[in-house]
Subunit: 219 residues, 2 copies
Amino acid sequence: MDIPVIRNILEANDRISEQIRNMLLQMKILSLNLMSSPGSGKTTLLERTLTDLKEEFTMAVIEGDVMTSNDARRVAATGAQAIQINTDGGCHLDSSMVLQACNQLNLDTTDILFVENVGNLVCPAEFEVGEDYKITILSVAEGDDKPEKYPLMFAESEVMILNKIDLLPYVDFSLERATRFAKQLNNNIKVFPLSARTGEGMDPWYDWLRKEVIAKKNK
Amino acid sequence: MDIPVIRNILEANDRISEQIRNMLLQMKILSLNLMSSPGSGKTTLLERTLTDLKEEFTMAVIEGDVMTSNDARRVAATGAQAIQINTDGGCHLDSSMVLQACNQLNLDTTDILFVENVGNLVCPAEFEVGEDYKITILSVAEGDDKPEKYPLMFAESEVMILNKIDLLPYVDFSLERATRFAKQLNNNIKVFPLSARTGEGMDPWYDWLRKEVIAKKNK
């Protein structure tokens, strides 16, 4: 009984996701869906990225949260255009929410649209939101076994960011082991170990963004 | 269209949950539903608790995971009876899964049944699994704003465990602020700051378990 309903929801979601993707392709905007557990540092990563690259790119952010607009306020403080979606208990963003948010942003000169999903390592992976790429952030405080235990998100992501490497001396986490688990699921995944808090290791992430912005402009 | 379907699912879940609750009441087994983000330390908390209290209580564990039976193996290594539920992508345990698991365990002499839910700070809070109490674990590496941002789980929990206090010197986390946010949602919530890794602060948690086991025997 439930399965057809769920399939219809996913199909409806995919249709709107394609609509967003086509719109952003025409506008040459790189669109990234940032996903992770709660507290892995998505918003801190965005704050630093938006600050460090503000002279190079025009960036906009759609913030997804169960409750509060704290995160949109944090990223707007960098000067970037930001809008908050509250899911009111919902465990993921869907494409209709993101389409509504896109329609309320002025994306005319935007180079990169970041979508920060609800903190959840399971459900958001099932719902496309018009993104070019999914990015999964894993904090080293969460344990290096997470790609093996929550495989879908890592299997679908173009990039895995291993955040909070400043905590490596104090936790049991092997960058090699986390990378190996992720590559077993997805051999092409790019892995960027960094600390959004201290700024260590941000450059390979920024270089990847630069390359992908150019690739999108040439599409 | 979707809302009635979802309501039916929740009602069916609640009926089976009541069935489990009645069964465990007759057997005088204290039942605890452990919930948290991925990587907050649920399994490590269980490993230490099962080891430290093994002479006092008979304990059994139902492990919920999206994939792998790593966690059931870890807790079984303490000598406790353990069974693994794989949700195969599902983002929470439901009561029918837990009922099936109960039926495969020998609970005759059990004092405490721990249910370790799927790592997810959103969805598991909506699904009762026959528990006496919900316990939310929050690692200090996740940030003290989590009760405010993911309120339902904290609002419904009898206990909030603030885990990984050994990391407090290295992260921006205020025990006072996390406690204040949680008490705004749920004034009676008990808060136990501890480190399941180092063992610091475990005693108040053990005292609470002792008190609740006795209360359940006298029901």
